[in-house]
């Protein structure tokens, strides 16, 4: 079973990964975006860990709802509403339980990913964060490590795609040949689950 502590560790691990990889995320965002993905997410996840520490939410759902609200209030751009909605909707789907099973979490995360697709209008193959998140949710039944591998593979697989959503879509065919920064940061988020689980 996964408790509120697990979800706090997930946010801390993700914040650390974003800190570590910020320069790479910004570098990926330069040729097909506007060179700020790393710094924007850094600002957001730093706010998340600060708020989680200060308010110390007691249920898995409350941790993710708080984290989502922080991202919406601090990140800006498209990433703020999209990542914020992902965590808020996942948290909402977890309800008020003090502990949730891995299956319940997988279902909740699927609801979160569905909400991101509805908000941003992206589908798999559009070269967005969805290309890492959907395979990760599909693999979550086989454990966190499998989900991490699926997300990383999904992020790498965005390289040959032509972007159809987000700022990279303005480039048309010139977006081909670059790995999507949003899919890459989504893979970091999923990798944080493995770390939070102490695997």
């Amino acid at each position: 079973m996964l408790d509120a502590d697990f979800f706090r560790r997930w946010m801390t691990a993700t914040a650390a990964a974003v800190d570590r990889e910020a320069e790479r995320l910004t570098a990926l965002d330069s040729p097909i975006g506007d060179a700020d993905h790393g710094s924007n997410l850094q600002r957001g996840f730093n706010a998340v860990t600060a708020a989680v520490e200060k308010e110390s939410p007691q249920t898995p759902g409350a941790v993710l709802m708080l984290a989502g609200r922080q991202l919406i209030s601090t990140v800006g751009g498209a990433s703020g509403p999209l990542y914020g909605t992902l965590l808020r909707r996942t948290g909402k789907a977890l309800g008020e339980a003090g502990e949730v099973s891995e299956d319940q979490f997988a279902q909740a995360l699927r609801a979160g990913v569905d909400a991101v697709m509805a908000l941003g209008g992206a589908a798999p193959g559009d070269k967005t964060m969805i290309d890492a998140l959907v395979p990760a949710v599909d693999a979550l039944g086989d454990g966190f490590t499998a989900a991490r591998a699926a997300a990383e593979e999904g992020a790498l697989a965005t390289t040959p795609l032509q972007a159809r959503k987000g700022r990279a879509s303005y480039l048309g065919e010139r977006s081909i040949g670059h790995q999507d920064p949003g899919a890459t940061s989504s893979a970091l988020l999923i990798a944080g689950l493995v770390e939070a689980n102490g695997e």
């Binding site: 700020d36 601090t74 800006g76 751009g77 959503k165 303005y170």
Partner: protein
């Protein structure tokens, strides 16, 4: 790249502190990042709120004042502001007549303003929105995020601002804003990439002797790269792209806009070529504006925006305005 800054993290905050010191007629909340007319809310009048990433100055904060915006929300450099800023701005300027959000069509701006509109309505503020999407370099289809909002934002903010200043109701101010956007088209070129403070080096690599055609305002590369062209050739290409998309029936307002790193000397020379092409194509020019209005940090280059105007839009365009970035008639 050398920059006149302290540290990259404080660029926006430092600029807002300086803006507050230079413009006592504005209330600049440096911490919450909202710029408001000091006399807001103006009784009985619709209020206009816009915002977007920083790095496009004077857009949007420089267009706050009588006859134009009531408030602006600056985000981080090239990053849309957050809903909290827009709700705060709407609450500060709403007189009860409602608030019009003017939103440039970028995924981030649209999502954050949509969330803000919902939150503001929950607080009892009537909100309408106008989306600006004038950039002909982007194909508007299901397979893109749609056309970007660029130079036409200035026309929408000025003309809708004048309508609000006259006391026209929210649905009318909104309709005028939409009409301006639908009758505006832009095309931009870059001679150099821009450098964001966070990255410290140019956002894309543009060799000497080449230019980018069809750029946006966020340092993103354009659709096509070519060998460097003359000012006249660029004017032929840019105005041609606009007229192909929108053959004007009415006279046009012309904005020859610098991207931030091109001297006015070159912009005026470019304007001469733009006017030549318009004359050759039989387009009547009602009014022309030349300068740096919707910029992209230190990018060298320019954009052309044409806005078709009927008598009412032209009257509203000519109405008095008093903002840091645009000022006439008062």
């Amino acid at each position: 790249m050398k920059m006149l800054i302290n540290v990259a993290e404080s660029v926006v905050t430092d600029a807002l502190r300086g803006m507050a010191a230079a413009h006592p007629e504005l209330v600049v909340d440096v911490e919450k990042r909202v710029i408001v007319r000091r006399d807001a809310p103006v009784e009985g009048k619709v209020a206009l709120v816009s915002g977007g990433g920083s790095g496009h100055e004077p857009l949007h904060g420089g267009f706050v004042g009588p006859g134009m915006l009531s408030a602006a929300c600056p985000g981080e450099v090239f990053t849309s502001p957050v809903p909290d800023q827009m709700v705060r701005a709407a609450a500060a300027v709403d007189s009860g007549a409602g608030v019009l959000f003017i939103v440039k069509n970028y995924t981030g701006d649209v999502l954050n303003f949509d969330m803000a509109a919902e939150l503001a309505e929950d607080e009892g503020i009537q909100v309408a929105k106008v989306l600006v999407n004038d950039d002909v370099a982007v194909t508007d289809s299901l397979y893109t995020a749609g056309r970007r909002g660029t130079g036409a934002t200035l026309f929408v903010e000025k003309i809708a601002g004048a309508a609000a200043d006259e006391g026209q109701p929210l649905e009318r101010v909104e309709a005028i804003g939409r009409q301006v956007n639908e009758n505006s088209r832009s095309f931009g070129v870059a001679l150099s990439a821009c450098t964001t403070p966070a990255k410290g080096s140019p956002t894309f690599d543009l060799p000497p002797g080449e230019l980018e055609l069809g750029i946006g305002i966020h340092g993103e590369p354009g659709r096509e790269r070519r060998a460097m062209m003359t000012s006249g050739e660029i004017a032929d290409f840019a105005v041609g792209a606009i007229l192909e998309d929108m053959p004007p029936r009415n006279p046009v307002l012309v904005l020859v806009n610098g991207m931030g790193g091109t001297p006015l000397l070159e912009l005026y020379g470019f304007n001469a070529e733009v006017q030549r092409v318009l004359a050759e194509r039989g387009v009547n020019v009602a009014h022309t504006l030349v300068g740096n209005y919707v910029t992209s940090l230190d990018m060298a280059g320019a954009s052309v925006t044409l806005c078709q105007v009927d008598e009412e839009l032209l009257r509203l365009w000519n109405a008095p305005v008093k903002t840091p970035g645009l000022r006439w008639g008062m």
